[in-house]
């Protein structure tokens, strides 16, 4: 071996190492792909709009023409009831023409790719696509390849931005609009949760201190890089917090060897009355639903005065109205 330098040397800063800019679709406001990187002002504007729609709902209903003449397709490649209904209601209240379909993997099983399926739908004259898909990045992928707006209704284990926004709107109401310095705990299966990722991005941007707790097998390596703290126990995360968000525990986690039993999970990570009392006096309980009663959330806690779970659902329709309006307006600006 000749000419080998005696000592290993480290590369100078940046040498031979390419940097990667943020992909274009994430900065294109015609789309809503995630809350990562969304500026604070944009978030606050969206929440303000969402609150206006919520006020309209409380006064008897939303009567908007923001989506008049707009055709929206709700493309759900994964099963969902609540998110799809929530989107459909929001779209109809805004005057959109709405088509929806649910197809688990049937179209891909026929050999048609996701992109081909969506191009066919777009060719029918669809302006906006609300997409849920099992692959992380599927929404960004479609935004890259389709002409119209793409709204992410959940992509794999990546993001679920309208859920994140409705969580923020709920907290905005509970906290009277003051996010800075608040503390929130997210407890459960962080690994597989797109709800958690969107919530973390939005909360951190607004200055909320986020603590994560859950079994180590369900805590993804490196998640603290999103700006959240990993707490050693559920109690530690919840103590002194202004809100706790319990995540749904899927039964297949036991089959996958990620957990021993639902009982053990409940004992260590389930939100019961004792853990709820660790919150600050006006602390609230949140859950993206559907709730596994008695697993991640005890029934008495889910139905307690501290629970804002149904508020989250109502806010979901309002928040989706605001998000749809914004994407439609941006599309008109571009066109």
């Amino acid at each position: 071996m000749t000419n080998v330098q005696a000592l290993p040397t480290l590369a100078p800063e940046g040498a031979g190492h390419f940097s990667y800019p943020v992909p274009a679709p994430a900065r294109d406001h015609r789309h809503l792909l995630g809350l990562e990187g969304m500026p604070r002002e944009t978030l606050l504007e969206l929440l303000e709009d969402g609150q206006c729609y919520r006020d309209q709902m409380d006064r008897g209903g939303i009567a908007s023409h923001a989506l008049d003449g707009v055709t929206v397709c709700n493309a759900f490649f994964e099963n969902s009831t609540r998110t799809r209904l929530s989107f459909e209601l929001a779209e109809r209240r805004m005057g959109a023409t709405v088509v929806s379909f649910s197809a688990t993997d049937s179209s891909t099983a026929k050999g048609e790719t996701l992109l081909d399926t969506m191009k066919v739908i777009e060719a029918m004259g669809v302006d906006m696509v609300v997409v849920r898909h099992a692959s992380s990045g599927a929404a960004a992928y479609l935004a890259n390849h389709l002409q119209g707006s793409v709204i992410n209704a959940g992509d794999g284990t990546h993001e679920h931005p309208t859920q994140g926004l409705l969580d923020l709107l709920t907290l905005r109401q509970v906290w009277s609009g003051r996010f800075e310095g608040r503390k929130l705990a997210i407890v459960g299966d962080i690994m597989h949760s797109r709800v958690a990722r969107s919530a973390i991005h939005g909360l951190v941007t607004l200055g909320v201190q986020v603590a994560l707790a859950g079994p180590a097998t369900l805590m993804p390596a490196g998640i603290e890089s999103l700006g959240a703290r990993i707490a050693p126990t559920a109690d530690d995360a919840i103590a002194g917090a202004d809100a706790v968000m319990a995540l749904r525990l899927q039964k297949e986690r036991m089959e996958q060897g990620l957990l021993a039993s639902a009982g053990e999970y409940t004992k260590h990570w389930g939100i019961d009355a004792r853990r709820a009392r660790l919150l600050r006096p006006h602390g609230v309980i949140m859950h993206p639903g559907p709730v596994n009663r008695g697993v991640e959330l005890m029934p008495d806690v889910a139905d307690s005065k501290r629970s804002v779970i149904l508020e989250q659902v109502t806010n979901g329709v309002a928040m989706r109205c605001a998000a749809l309006e914004r994407c439609a307006a941006e599309s008109r600006n571009v066109a």
Partner: protein, 443 residues
């Protein structure tokens, strides 16, 4: 081709002198200071214009995709791409359809490669039938048919017992077993390196330990069996540490790494770029630094590309559905110069050695040198010429590279295989055609 040809005014890769190289019947007949040997009228002449002349590059890790996957690549297009990258020798992996686990299939590949004529191809036979990890392939017969090594590349051999038997059984052939090191259970259904980026993107991760554990296992099995292990496409700091340990213990273990592991990290996956999806995955910055350190201190025995072409359709899918692999033949030399030589990690001479003498030693291939009597398997390149990677101009059918649009230093100007020209830089060719002289061996 002309029986007699001359490469005039090339810089010898080792001595740095300007030389003329005279080739007769595919063999180097003379190497002399430029302009000293009298020219003969029948001689074809190629003006090197001071570019560097080195032995043809050797890539021990290429997927030529035939038989059976001709939409991704063919032996003809893959070896043409190799010539464009300055390679005269490539070893091709057996994860084709069907798998190269029968002597007749090895012979078929050799015949197709001979017909194409762009490269010497050294087929690698499967270790187990169908690469299923269950039953040994006929290693001795594969060797007799022309296999240069054995590998279940793409399908790591999960059973330590099976790997042990394979190493023992292959021992009399003298051929290494090329190991794709990933524990299949630990890798699971991961699609990228496990870390902050995978956590943020919500992509299931593959921990570095999936590779490191298998490397450790096979180093121990090399000691147990006395068999020859060649560790393919190493990417983790832990793997390099194990290879270092194996060298210290004097075991018959060698290892390679690939340009993407010193050029990129898992941040390249940002935006779900499937052109940055390969196996093993792009790792952390610490692993990238460890890759460079392992090249610098001689732990790494040779370089390879893991050229893995896929169709545009296959790669244009959501990240978790797209196949693993990137092409590498046509960017390898430039990535080596850009990422290793220019920042001062290794000299140009050492970099070339890692693509020539070093891989030849690992597979026991005949020596090639820029000296009298050697086969005229040569590459001429300009280490300073900068160019922009345009995948649509690749000779490979695969356009799946994470380096598209990047400007790199180091351009291959011409490649010769036994004196026959297998590649001339298109720009150079235009100039040559406009001029008076024809390139060496022009058809």
């Amino acid at each position: 081709m002309s029986a007699r040809a001359r490469i005039h005014g090339a810089r010898h890769w080792k001595t740095g002198e300007l030389v003329d190289v005279v080739i007769v019947a595919g063999v180097i007949e003379a190497v002399a200071p430029a302009g000293v040997l009298p020219e003969r009228p029948e001689e074809a002449r190629f003006d090197a214009e001071g570019a560097v002349l080195a032995p043809g590059l050797v890539d021990l890790h290429v997927h030529l995709r035939e038989p059976g996957q001709g939409t991704k690549e063919t032996i003809a297009t893959g070896t043409r791409a190799a010539a464009a990258g300055g390679f005269t020798d490539v070893a091709c992996m057996p994860n084709t359809s069907p798998v190269l686990d029968e002597p007749a299939r090895i012979e078929w590949v050799l015949n197709r490669a001979r017909e194409a004529g762009h490269c010497r191809v050294h087929p690698i036979g499967a270790v187990t039938l169908g690469q299923l990890g269950e039953q040994l392939a006929p290693l001795l017969a594969l060797r007799d048919a022309g296999a240069a090594a054995f590998s279940d590349d793409g399908h790591p051999i999960a059973s330590a017992e099976m790997m042990r038997r394979a190493l023992e059984y292959a021992r009399p052939t003298g051929c290494p077993i090329v190991c794709h090191e990933e524990d299949p259970t630990l890798r699971g259904r991961g699609h990228m390196n496990e870390g902050a980026v995978s956590a943020r993107l919500g992509i299931r991760g593959i921990p570095a330990a999936a590779e490191t554990i298998m490397v450790r296992r096979d180093v121990e099995l090399a000691e147990l069996t006395g068999g020859r292990v060649h560790l393919a496409h190493l990417s983790t700091a832990g793997s390099f540490e194990s290879l270092r340990d194996a060298h210290r213990r004097g075991l018959a273990v060698s290892g390679e790494t690939c340009p993407h592991y010193w050029m990129l990290t898992d941040e390249a996956v940002e935006g779900y770029d499937t052109a940055a999806k390969m196996n093993p995955p792009l790792r952390s910055e610490a692993d990238r630094q460890a890759t460079i350190a392992a090249i610098v201190d001689g732990t790494i025995d040779c370089l390879a590309t893991d050229h893995a072409p896929h169709t545009a359709e296959e790669k244009a899918q959501p990240f978790d559905q797209a196949p693993f692999g990137i092409v590498g033949l046509e960017t390898a030399l430039a990535l080596t110069i850009t990422g290793l030589v220019r920042p001062g990690h290794v000299t140009l001479e050492r970099a070339i050695e890692l693509w020539t003498d070093a891989p030849r030693r690992v597979f026991g291939l005949p020596r090639v040198a820029v000296e009298v009597g050697s086969p005229a398997d040569l590459v001429l390149f300009d280490p300073d010429a900068e160019w922009t990677v345009e995948p649509e101009r690749f000779h490979s059918k695969g356009r799946n590279t994470p380096f598209a649009g990047r400007t790199l230093a180091g351009r291959v100007l011409a490649t010769w295989l036994a004196g026959a020209t297998t590649h001339v830089d298109p720009e150079r060719e235009r100039r040559l055609l406009a001029g008076k002289r024809s390139p060496v061996g022009a058809k």
